[in-house]
């Protein structure tokens, strides 16, 4: 084979023909993932939509300096960073929850109940954040909300509470919606890991007279910790990204101050405020920090399990 292919000219080898077949797909990847990087240049201008880029005023790094020098922008950025880090920190502190969920679910011996519970608790993961908001609306709106109706019927309150518009405890509310949507699903990795734990370990523990709590503590949890640490380390890479969908749908005039995370701020500044150049500058900084964090977490993961993510 190798002798034959060497005789052929390069562009006729099967490897190159295969490359030609996948080239359109690679072009798509380039167009939608790499080409936008060229747009970073907009951060160097005072870009006004409609005006060709190079006819705009060249600003150099002024848009970046503005983030720290202009007190108006600085206070905004600090507030947004506080929201971003605060909500992510809550998420990290509660990251053992899916593991505990899996451990306790595996303690349920009634199989139909276990199966049903596992299936139904993973469903919310597959609905969009818009629909989560629709659910929130159905459950908590002032006039039609289920919770308000039940509370009024029971005579606990006599007027509906506006859960959705109030800015109180918004970080906790966002966290709770995140758990409602994701807890059952995040537990699946651990459920699989539990089934991978050697049964002999449990039997040995039983011979030693361990009760179920001791088995959980000395067999199950140590068996799951490697998975847990890897996922925790990976979440460091996402420290300043929390996605935009959830906060976009839940934001309103009342809670905006406490709900605006970095991704949403970039959107609000750029697309709503038509402040393209400034918002690009912010997102460039964000990308750089994210990628750095990713490398750090990747290095840590390499130390922990001798295996890198990529």
């Amino acid at each position: 084979m190798t002798i034959q292919t060497k005789k052929k000219p390069f562009y006729k080898t099967s490897g190159f023909r295969l490359f030609l077949l996948i080239m359109p797909l690679l072009v798509l990847v380039f167009l939608f993932s790499y080409l936008p990087l060229y747009g970073w240049i907009y951060a160097l201008f005072d870009y006004r939509p409609g005006v060709p880029l190079f006819k705009n005023k060249f600003m150099g790094f002024d848009n970046f300096k503005r983030i720290v020098q202009d007190t108006y922008y600085l206070s905004d950025v600090i507030r947004v960073l506080k929201n971003t880090l605060g909500m992510n920190l809550i998420g990290m502190l509660t990251s053992p929850l899916p593991m505990l969920f899996a451990i306790f679910l595996s303690e349920i011996k009634c199989m139909p109940f276990k199966k049903l519970s596992q299936t139904l608790t993973t469903i919310p993961n597959f609905i969009s954040w818009v629909l989560v908001y629709a659910v929130a609306y159905a459950m908590f709106s002032v006039n039609d909300g289920f919770v308000n109706k039940v509370l009024i019927n029971m005579g606990i309150i006599d007027q509906g509470i506006n859960f959705l518009a109030s800015p109180d405890h918004i970080w906790m509310k966002m966290w709770l919606w995140g758990q409602w949507k994701g807890l059952g699903w995040s537990a699946i990795v651990y459920i699989a890991a539990i089934s991978g734990i050697d049964q002999e370990q449990y039997e040995a523990a039983e011979v030693d007279g361990a009760n179920r709590f001791q088995k959980m503590r000395y067999v199950t949890i140590p068996g799951l910790l490697p998975t847990f640490f890897v996922l925790l380390i990976l979440s460091i890479g996402n420290m300043i990204s929390n996605g935009i969908d959830q906060y976009f749908v839940f934001q309103n005039a009342m809670n905006k101050e406490h709900i605006e995370v970095l991704d949403l701020y970039v959107y609000n500044q750029g697309m709503v405020g038509i402040n393209y150049s400034y918002s690009t500058a912010v997102s460039i900084l964000k990308s750089i920090v994210s990628v750095t964090l990713l490398f750090v977490s990747n290095q840590m993961s390499r130390l922990v399990r001798d295996e890198s993510v990529f």
């Binding site: 690679l26 954040w129 009760n211």
Partner: protein, 300 residues
Amino acid sequence: MKRKKLSPKDVIFNIFNYAFFGFFTLICVLPFYYLFINTISDNDLVAKGLIVWLPKGIHFDNYLEILKINGFGSAVIVTLARTVIGTICSTVGTSFLGYALTRKELWLRKVWYRFVVITMYFNAGIIPWFITMKNLHLTNNFLAYILPGIVSPFSLMLFKTYCESIPDSMEESAELDGAGYLIRYTRIIVPLSKPILATLVIFSAVGNWNSFMDTVFLMTDSRLFTLQYVLYQYLNEASSLADMLMSMASEGLLVDVSKLLTPTSIKMTVSMVVVIPILCVYPFFQKYFVGGIMIGAVKG
């Protein structure tokens, strides 16, 4: 296996454990039940807030009436179209690329693999992406729903991993018969990788169905709005919904009070329309979802 006697501690633990999972399962399902009974009950009872636990005056007219709302029908068509076309394109494109990247003779194979997979870990940001899409004339263009999703790096990793487990000998005989890559892909790889293809199809279909921000960023033409976006609008613009209903009522489209659409009933009915496909599909395809996430977890 012999059954051991439970200690009191065990009994208490079991009670709490079952109670917790019962409760959590309930709050995962209750909202959908509540939405559903409200969409099939008399709309005037719903408006008075009387429907809490059980439906009253069951009718299914809401599901027919919402079709008369401007823009709803087109949103259904756009969403179905992007889900079907997007899923087909994405599954074929991603799996073929995944297959090609397993072939050792591919020119610069490692470079292309990294070129694709690395895109999972960075993005240029919303504004540069938006400007690029605009320059490519993909704003207010249906193709914007399809093209960016054709190559999905995560699914690609899933498929490539699976593909590598297919023995080379399967392909070699076809290669000796002179079959080209496309024939080998369709006749050998696809039939052998049905389970993972099912996973790809499911992930892509759910992703397309749920996708929402791309409409927010790229579309201003209401003919291209998706169901998710329309639902978002309805949830946020109660007043415009009420106006629309007033005009519909004055045109004599709606008469029976108990069947009269209200802003609430519209919101709830559209929510149900959006969620029903997921609720129907999920239990049957659960194993594919779980299979997908497991391979993904092993890969990191």
